[in-house]
Structures are given as C-alpha cells and as structure tokens.
Symmetry: C2
Subunit: 169 residues, 2 copies
C-alpha cells in the first residue's frame, strides 16, 4: 500500500468508485446523483486543499481530500473526507489514508481536525477514526437518512493537535 499525492491522471480511477459510493447513499452526505464535474471540483480543491490516493499493486483503491474546515478565524482547524473502493475494503487503505492526512495536517500547522458528518451506521469508519485519535464530540440525531437503517445520527469528531488548540490564548 502506497500513499501519494493525487494528480489529474488519477481521476479516471477514482470516479467509478466515488460515483458508486455517492449513489449508494450509505456514507456520504452528497447528492446521490452528483455529476462527475461537481465531484471532481469538490475532490480537487485549490491549495491549501490536498488530495491523496492509496495505491495497491498499481491500482488506486482509495482517496482522501483535506484542507481547512472553515475560513478566516476558523481556518486553523482542518477537515478531510475519505473514500475507499468498496471492492477493496480490508486492505488497510482507509487507515493508511487517515494516518497520512493527520500527519500532513499537523505538518501544515493546523491546530486540530474536525469531521462534520460520520454516519453512525458506518461503524467501520467510526471505529477507525476513534482508533486514530478522534473523539466523537456529539452525534447529531437523525441527521442522515440511511436507505436501510432509516434516520441515523451523524458523528461530529475532533482531534486536537496541540494542547494550545483546546486551552485558548
């Protein structure tokens, strides 16, 4: 498993599983029929946004996008989104992407990272982020309409990168 920066050439490998993940409506708060153009625009933001891919045996099997969660006075907290090809689960791509994103955000000087909408029913993701140091700050009740589970919560998760991030000053 190799993690590297994504390039425009990776898009044809990313879009098929990204489209499937959005269409499934299980994990992402995106329009289920998002257009390829809108998805690409979202996944390849301008700097300081970053896009990486997980490559296994020469094949892109996962990707992550990261950057500031908000702007201006709140731009010191990062956020990130992750997609792993559902046909390639279990190879550690999600964990490897998560570790790299956190390392990079620390190196970039962010003071913490926030996830805004981790689907409660996506226990694989909830457990992974907890194991990587994220805390669930709250679960927004009923905020995600899961196709089989009905209305489930969205975890808001946070990890401080330095005591200063939580102590103020």
């Amino acid at each position: 498993m190799m993690i590297r920066e994504a390039t425009a050439n990776d898009w044809p490998a990313i879009w098929p599983f990204m489209r499937d993940i959005a269409a499934a409506g299980l994990t992402f708060s995106w329009d289920r029929d998002i257009t390829e153009e809108a998805a690409r625009h979202r996944w390849f933001p301008a700097p300081p946004g970053r896009t990486i891919v997980a490559v296994d045996a020469g094949t892109v099997i996962g990707t992550a996008v990261s950057g500031p969660n908000k702007e201006g006075p709140a731009a010191h907290i990062a956020t990130a989104s992750f997609m792993v090809d559902p046909r390639r689960f279990g190879h550690g791509a999600g964990r490897a992407l998560g570790q790299r994103v956190v390392e990079q955000a620390r190196a970039d000087g962010f003071r913490g990272m926030q996830f805004n909408a981790v689907v409660e029913a996506n226990t694989r993701a909830v457990e992974l982020w907890h194991s990587l140091g994220f805390q669930t700050l709250t679960v927004v009740p009923g905020a995600f309409h899961h196709p089989t589970e009905g209305y489930v919560g969205l975890h808001i998760m946070f990890q401080a990168f330095s005591p200063a991030a939580v102590e103020g000053g």
Copy 2:
C-alpha cells in the same frame, strides 16, 4: 420591524454591513477580506436556499440565508446564517429573523435545523438561539481565533422539528 424575502435590489443595503462583519472577524468563519462577488454568491443561493431581510423604518438592518445543511441523505436538516447591522443591534432584528427562518424551515418540511459554528464569545447569539429552542450539542474547542479573546470554541447547535427526527425510523 418587517421580515420579507430579499431581492437582488437589497444587496446594496446588505453588503456594507456584511463586509464590516466579515472584516471584524468576531462572529463569522469567513475570510475576513471576502470579495463582494463571493459574499453575494453565498448569501443568495439557488433554491431551495432562501434569503430574507429585516426592514426597520424602510431600512434593511439585517438578513438571513437558509437552506439544507448538507446534501442527499442529509438534506432534511436545515441550516441558516444571520447578520444584523452592528449599528442597529437591539431592535429585535436577530430574533425576528431567527423566528421566521425556523417557521419557514418547518413549513418547508425540514426535520430539524443545525448551526455549525456559533462563536462562543458571541454570547448575544448563543443566548438568542437557546431562547429560540436550539440546544448546544457540543462546543468544538479552540476552533475560532477571536481577535481579542484568542482561541474560543464554536457551538454546534440543533433543534429537532419533530420527534421523528430524533427517534429514527
């Protein structure tokens, strides 16, 4: 105090105080030097987004934008943002705008409303939203760099519009 739908003609009255509020960096997680074009694009979203203004004695003294907080499987939860001309505080514009936004979102069929980033130091806003039925679900620690208070928290607030929104199913 009259609350009505905003039109493009209201923009010249909105932008001066919006620019000042963004530049002050006290309450909004926006670039402090946001361009007029970017601000207008953000404040006048396509439907189902809605924009309203508070008019006092013929003058626009406040405005709100509302719509879905996220997309697809999460599009049933609304969000909103509010700005009141700082020179016109104390006339009830914030409360009147908040009441209208909540009423309208209920009428539009949303199942709840979430505020993603209410600055902890903005006690006027925190108290107003609590009085209008919002609960603070969590405060993201140190997520806002206030120009005089240093790093302060961001409240994430929520109000369910129906028991079903929190019970699932």
